[in-house]
């Protein structure tokens, strides 16, 4: 076989899961027995800086042409590995990721996991040995403007930060301009000064009473249609940031008010109730996350500060207080805030009684004058996501690329989201958010636009100019060129491969997902081993 030893395999020591279900040494031994595999190396924590250096050295060693990285499946890691490859002078699409952790170590028992992991590696090697260098081209960004969608404090802080970095900013507000919510009453004066400064700034443009209705393009080259009443503007921008404020009045039952009401009373001058119950939940079927939990906890602590004799209860499915929040929770407990865990969402009985289901104590009834929830109905995130072409989770919330590592990036490159967007967050969260998003935005705008990668190629010999690809492309990329054959520019191709499967002449193929590559991994999988 002429591709003998063409594939280099790198195995991450953490691929075996934690605790170790898979023995990485035995994975390496198995990889060495495969025909196409040349060098095999085990690297500790490949995604760490040290690991990345070792990976780069392996890429540069010249012992292999294409590579399989046996690791986990966090999609963010794939971009890290591709960047390392590019910096080492290897085409990033010669690198293949074999996920043995999420697809095997975490879900199967010992022997079965090992057997499946061997197959997964074999499938990746089969694919990888057929890899071709995908065409890659760089282009200067056409627009370096950031478009901010939103009119809340989050958008305001972000706009100020971005302008501070010299980035041109356009803002789209549904209302007449920036709005400052009640819970930020203390900071109103400072925020209003920011608004004034922004409006005097020539690098800032605001579109009031406007909505984005259409978006085309990619990072560095977006073109958005913005409708402001009867007028429609076309705005070019390099990146887009979602920074909407939560709706002022969320639809809630009268007995259960949003926790922002309590926050308004705590900052403002309303009358505090004698006893409160806070349901810490994030809206996902009685789920809870750290943000919701801490927000409810802080409101309860502020309440206890103002009313030391009052009663404050927090009910949630779990106690979520990671890191330093643990001592904060301890402090809350010392102050007299009572925490309950309930398997089910508490139900209201009568006017003021809440019945919850504690794991050990069973059904408990709590009486409280006022009840609040940390969950607030989302803004029209659904409409915005559809316009921007972002995938939604089943419950209508936005999906982010990597919730823990890169929470500010959406699934579409060049579109960012403030994690406090659509939520009513405390100011410090919004400031940290704005800082992290603005640095991501600046980083994205500094670079060049990378084109190509997973794109189609047309075999002009085979093309019969039947127009199938022209008609079927969701992005209108293919056209019939001067020679009377289909052409698909890599600038426009989004790499979905719909035309590839439809082409009756089989003239189109997709780099990195070619028919032969898909066929090779399917063959290994279906036969239970390629040899």
């Amino acid at each position: 076989m002429n591709d003998k030893g063409r594939v280099g395999v790198v195995i991450c020591t953490w691929a075996g899961g934690n605790p170790r279900t898979l023995d990485v040494n035995s994975l390496a031994e198995h990889a060495k027995t495969m025909d196409r595999v040349g060098p095999v190396e085990i690297i500790d924590r490949i995604c760490s800086p040290v690991g990345q250096n070792k990976l780069a050295a392996f890429f540069r060693s010249g012992k292999a042409e294409c590579f399989v990285i046996v690791a986990c499946s966090a999609f963010s890691k794939e971009t890290i590995f591709r960047d390392v490859a590019r910096d080492s002078g290897i085409n990033p699409y010669m690198v293949e990721l074999a996920d043995v952790r999420e697809q095997s170590a975490y879900v199967h028992t010992h022997d079965k996991a090992l057997e499946k992991a061997h197959l997964i590696i074999e499938m990746a090697v089969a694919r990888s040995s057929l890899a071709e260098e995908a065409p890659i081209k760089f282009r200067q960004l056409r627009s370096k403007r950031a478009l901010i969608i939103g009119d809340g404090a989050c958008a305001l802080i972000l706009a100020t930060h971005l302008r501070g970095q010299g980035i041109e900013v356009a803002q789209i507000a549904e209302g007449s301009g920036f709005m400052i919510p009640d819970r930020l009453e203390k900071q109103r004066q400072a925020l209003e000064e920011d608004i004034k400064r922004l409006h005097e700034d020539p690098g800032f443009a605001a579109f009031a009473h406007s909505k984005v209705t259409h978006l085309v393009g990619r990072l560095g080259n977006f073109s958005a249609l913005i409708s402001s009443g009867r007028v429609t503007h076309a705005v070019d921008c390099g990146v887009i940031v979602l920074a909407n404020e939560a709706p002022a009045n969320s639809p809630q039952t009268s007995a259960l008010a949003p926790v922002s009401d309590l926050e308004s009373i705590l900052v403002g001058s309303g009358t505090l109730p004698m006893s409160i119950v806070v349901l810490a939940e994030n809206g996902h079927e009685w789920g809870v996350d750290a943000g919701a939990f801490v927000r409810g906890m802080r409101a309860a602590m502020d309440f206890k500060n103002k009313r030391p004799n009052g009663k404050a209860y927090i009910i949630s499915r779990d106690i979520v207080s990671p890191g330093r929040r643990e001592s904060e929770q301890r402090m809350a407990q010392d102050m007299g805030v009572v925490f309950f865990r309930s398997e089910e969402r508490p139900r209201l009985v009568g006017a003021t009684d809440w019945v919850l289901n504690d794991q050990t104590l069973g059904d408990i009834t709590i009486e409280a004058e006022a009840a609040y929830t940390t969950h607030q109905a989302e803004h029209d995130s659904e409409r915005i996501a559809k316009v921007l072409g972002l995938p939604l989770a089943a419950d209508g919330t936005l999906t982010t690329l990597e919730p823990r590592l890169r929470p500010e990036e959406t699934m579409r490159r060049g579109i960012f989201v403030c994690s406090s967007a659509f939520k009513a967050s405390p100011l410090e969260t919004m400031v940290t958010d704005a800082l992290s998003v603005s640095s991501r935005v600046a980083e994205a705008l500094l670079g060049q636009e990378m084109l190509g990668g997973i794109v189609t190629k047309v075999d002009q010999e085979k093309c019969s100019a039947c127009l199938t690809c022209v008609r079927s492309c969701p992005y209108s990329a293919p056209f019939i060129g001067d020679k009377g054959k289909a052409e698909i520019p890599i600038e426009d191709c989004q790499g979905c491969g719909i035309c590839v499967s439809l082409c009756p002449s089989k003239a189109i193929d997709l780099y990195h997902y070619s028919d032969s590559q898909i066929g090779a991994s399917v063959r290994v999988a279906a036969r239970g081993g390629g040899r």
Binding site: S73, F75, V107, E115, K116, L119, C496, S501, R527
Partner: protein, 133 residues
């Protein structure tokens, strides 16, 4: 038993990864093949899998009207229906191939899809074309 799951990059893959992170158990006979979009799938890919001995093949694609590539999942539905007809004509049973629509956070739906295919193979029996080692 050999079951092949084609997963699209925007829904099937994140759901499968999430299922892994949560340690949701499913049969280890399920092997996953990643696609950029479910619309990339060709009837040939589906049929060759059976020729090579797979007992069942499924696709995990975005929810309808929520496809990252606008209508890739609808194209995939057409491919799967076509493959079903061919399998029925061949006497292999069209139930061996199925498309499941799910969202990226619906790990349980992914597990359900995998388990459903296992149940179907248990009911129909192994692929008669299977090459046993």
């Amino acid at each position: 038993m050999r079951i092949i799951g084609f997963i699209c990059e925007h829904a099937g893959l994140p759901a499968a990864v999430l299922a892994g992170e949560r340690g949701m158990q499913y049969s280890s006979d399920v092997l996953l093949v990643r696609l950029p979009c479910s619309g990339r799938v060709d009837v040939v890919h589906l049929l060759r899998a059976f020729r090579d001995g797979a007992d069942a093949v499924f696709l995990a694609a975005c929810l309808e009207k929520n496809c990252h590539h606008i209508y890739g999942n609808l194209e995939a539905r057409k491919r799967v229906d076509q493959a079903k007809r061919i399998l029925d004509d061949l006497g292999l049973d069209g139930q061996r191939v199925e498309l499941f629509n799910l969202a990226s956070n619906q790990a349980f739906k992914f597990r359900e899809a995998a388990e459903e295919m296992v149940r179907r193979v248990e009911r129909i029996g192994p692929n008669p074309l299977g090459v046993r080692k």
